[in-house]
Symmetry: C2
Subunit: 411 residues, 2 copies
C-alpha cells in the first residue's frame, strides 16, 4: 500500500483508510494491481457519498488523486477572455483605422510581455483550473472579440494572426496546461478558402489542435451559406488533412434581436446541428469532426424533435447519420441540463468543457458554486464513473487526436 | 358507489374494484364525497403503476374518467395544418398576383363549405384529440403559412382575415372542442399598430381568446426591433385591454441557414425569452402574458445560463422578473425533455400543448407512439398529480382567461 499512501498523503485520514481498505478489497477480489484499483476505489468513495449532492471536497480530492494516478480532465472549450488591456486597445485602434485615415494600426505597435501573459492566466484561468482540478484547457482567442463582421478579410486576417499568436505563446508558457485552437480570419461574403494559410500556420508553426469555425461571420444575419454548402469544403479538406476538429462558434452579435451569450450562441449551435441533419456532409468528409458547444444548443432538450425530423426527412437515425462526426460539449450551467445531456446523447459524443472564463461568470446562489464549474455537474450526473472518464478525457483524445502527443510530451 | 360504477363502466373489473376501494377509503378517511374522491383515486391508481413507464391504457382511461368527473385537458397550441387544398391554391394565386398583373386573388373567389371544414378536422385533429383524450385545443392558422415576409401589409391583411375566419368557423362547428387564436397581418418593417383592427375583429366578432405574435416577420433575418421595443406597445395595450395572451410564433423560414421547425422556431423562442430577460417590459405592462412555445426553445435546458445572465445583468431572479408574464408550452417531443421542463420551470408556468398536427408527424420507433403525443410525457413525468392538473387545465384557464366562459357555455 505504499503507492496509495504516497498519493493520498494530503487527504484526511478517514479517506485514506477508506481508500486503502477498498484498494485491498479490489486487489484481492478482482485481481487488480493497486494502481489499477485506485481509481475504482476513489470513484467508489465518491459514489458512496450523499446521494443527490456532489460531495465536493471529497470528490475534488478524489479526482486530483485520479489525475496523479494517470487520469486526466481536459476542458475542450476555453477562450482568452482575460488578455491584457493592450490587446483591446490595439483592436479599437484597428477599428478606428477603418473609417479614419489618420489612425494606423500596425501589429508591431502591440507589445505584450510574457510576464503580462503569464499574469493574466495565473490569476484567472489557471487559478480556476487548479481550484477545480482541471488538467488541461484547449484555449482559443476570445470568441466574442473575433467580430468577423468588422472590416474586410485583411482586417480579420491581421486580427486573427495577433490573437492566435497570443494563444500560442500561452501554450509555450504553460506547456503542461494549455493547448490551442485557432480563430480563423473569416469575413462576411469572403470565400472560406482564404482562411487556409492561417490554418496551415497555426497547425504547422504553432502546433494547434483545432479551429473555431464561425457559421455566421455577419454577426447575426445568418446570411452565410449553410455549413453543408461546398464553399466551406476547402476548410473541411484541411481539417481532414490535419485531423483537427472544428468547434462551431459565432462571435459577438451586432443584431439587436440577439444577446450574444444568451441567445445568439445558442441559436447558432442549434442552427448548425440542423444544417448537418438536413445535409449529407459526412458522406463527402467521413473523418472530420465538429464540436457544437454550449451542450449542442437546444438539441438535447428537443432530441425527440430532431429524431422525428430525421425520420421525416428520410435520413438515417441520428447516431448513424451524425454522431460519428458531431459532438457536444458540457457548457450547460446547471445540474438538470447536464443530466439531460448525458442521458439522451451517446456518452461518446459528450466532451467536458466549461467555457471558463466566459459567458456566465457569477456564483449560483442556489449552489454556492460558480455557474461555469461544470465539472461538478458532470461528477454528480447519474452516469457511471467509466462514462465520466470518457467525458473528462477519453472522448477529447479521440476528437482532438493532436492533443495526445502534447500530453505525452508534457508528462 | 353508484356514481363511480356509472363512470367507470367501460373499464375492466380489476380497475373498477381498485377505484371503488380507494374511493371508499378516501371518503371515510378524508371525509370526501365520492365525486370529490374519484379523481384522487384515479390519480392514485395511475401513480401505483409501474414506475418509469406510462401505463398507457390505464392512464388514458383514468384521464378520460377524470374528464367525465369534471376535469379537463386543454391543448393551447394547435394550428390548422390540414385546411382544404382550396386554401393553399388561393394563397398561391395571391402570391402570383404580386408579380403578375394578369392574376387576381379576390377573397370572394375562395369557397370552402362547412362540410369540407368539418371533414378536415374530424379526420385529423379531432381524431387525435379523441384518441389521446384531449378535450380542447386552442386553434390558430397554420404557423408556417402565415409567411408575413410575402408581399406587403395588404397582402398579409387579406390573408390573415381569411385564415382567421376559417378558424372561427371551426370553433362554431365544434363549439365544445376548439377555441381560436388569431394570426396577425404583420409585414416586415410595417408598424405593428396596423394589426389592431384585426385583433379587435377577432376578439369582438369571433370570440378569439389569444393572438399569435411573430417576432420576426422577415422570415429569418431577425431584423425587427426586440419585443421590448415601444413599437410593439400598441399590441400589448390591446392584449391588456382584452386580457388575451400572445403566443410568440414565427412563420416559415425563407433564410437557407434555418430549417423552419428544426431550428428557426426554436431559435425564435430562445431569442424572445432573452429579449424579455434583458428588458423591463413588464414594468410597463404588468398584466400581459406571453406563451413561448416549443417548451421555451432552449431556455429550460440552459436555465442555469439564464439565471446566471439575469444575475450578471442585475435583473431580479427570473421567477420575479418574468414568470408572472412568460409561460412555456409542452411541445417537447420526448420524455427526458418534458422531465427537465417540469423540473426546472415553475409548474405555474408550464401549459399543456402538442402543436398537433404540426412540426413532427411521425411515430417514435423507440416508444411506438406519436412524437407529438405530449400528453404521455406529461403523464409520465415525475411530478405530482396536482401539478399535472395545473399543466393540463388550470394554468391555461389563468393565462387564457377568455376560455373560461367558452368552456362553461359548452358544458
Amino acid at each position: 500500500m505504499t503507492l496509495t499512501l504516497t498519493l493520498v498523503n494530503y487527504l484526511d485520514n478517514n479517506i485514506v483508510d477508506d481508500l486503502e481498505s477498498q484498494v485491498d478489497t479490489l486487489a484481492s477480489e478482482q485481481g487488480r494491481t493497486p494502481l489499477d484499483a485506485l481509481p475504482v476505489a476513489v470513484a467508489h468513495t465518491h459514489r458512496c457519498s450523499d446521494a443527490g449532492n456532489v460531495p465536493q471536497g471529497r470528490s475534488l480530492e478524489g479526482w486530483q488523486l485520479l489525475r496523479k494516478a494517470g487520469q486526466m480532465i481536459i476542458d475542450v472549450h476555453g477562450h482568452y477572455t482575460t488578455a491584457p488591456p493592450a490587446l483591446e486597445e490595439w483592436r479599437n485602434r484597428q477599428i478606428r483605422s477603418l473609417t479614419d485615415a489618420s489612425v494606423t494600426a500596425d501589429p508591431s505597435d502591440l507589445s505584450i510581455s510574457d510576464d503580462d501573459l503569464r499574469d493574466t492566466i495565473e490569476k484567472n484561468q489557471l487559478a480556476f483550473m487548479n481550484e477545480r482540478g482541471v488538467d488541461w484547457q484547449i484555449f482559443s482567442p476570445r470568441a466574442s472579440y473575433m467580430a468577423h463582421h468588422i472590416g474586410d478579410f485583411q482586417t480579420s486576417s491581421t486580427w486573427a494572426a495577433i490573437c492566435n499568436e497570443l494563444c500560442y505563446r500561452i501554450t509555450q508558457l504553460f506547456p503542461d496546461r494549455f493547448m490551442a485552437a485557432a480563430m480563423l480570419p473569416q469575413s462576411p461574403g469572403v470565400d472560406p478558402k482564404t482562411c487556409l494559410p492561417e490554418i496551415d500556420r497555426c497547425v504547422n508553426e504553432y502546433g494547434m489542435v483545432a479551429i473555431n469555425l464561425n457559421p455566421d461571420p455577419s454577426g447575426g444575419s445568418f446570411n452565410a451559406p449553410p455549413l453543408t454548402d461546398k464553399s466551406w469544403y476547402p476548410i473541411y479538406a484541411k481539417m481532414a488533412e490535419y485531423d483537427i476538429p472544428a468547434m462551431i462558434h459565432v462571435s459577438t452579435a451586432c443584431n439587436p434581436a440577439f444577446h450574444t451569450t444568451g441567445s445568439y450562441y445558442i441559436n447558432a449551435d442549434t442552427t448548425a446541428f440542423m444544417q448537418f441533419l438536413t445535409g449529407d456532409l459526412f458522406k463527402d468528409f467521413p473523418t472530420i469532426k465538429f464540436v457544437i458547444p454550449h451542450g449542442g444548443g437546444a438539441v438535447p432538450f428537443h432530441y425527440g424533435r430532431y429524431r422525428g425530423l430525421a425520420q421525416e426527412l428520410k435520413k438515417p437515425p441520428i447516431p448513424e447519420h451524425l454522431f460519428g462526426n458531431v459532438f457536444f460539449d458540457t457548457c450547460v450551467y446547471h445540474q438538470p441540463g447536464i443530466n439531460l445531456l448525458t442521458d439522451v446523447i451517446p456518452v461518446e459524443n459528450v466532451l467536458f468543457a466549461s467555457e471558463m472564463i466566459g459567458a456566465v461568470k457569477g456564483i449560483d446562489p442556489e449552489t454556492g458554486h460558480y455557474f461555469d464549474d461544470t465539472k461538478r455537474y458532470v461528477l454528480a450526473a447519474p452516469i457511471s464513473d467509466e462514462y465520466k472518464d470518457q467525458i473528462f478525457e477519453k472522448n477529447a483524445r479521440k476528437v482532438y487526436p493532436r492533443i495526445n502527443a502534447i500530453i505525452d510530451k508534457a508528462r
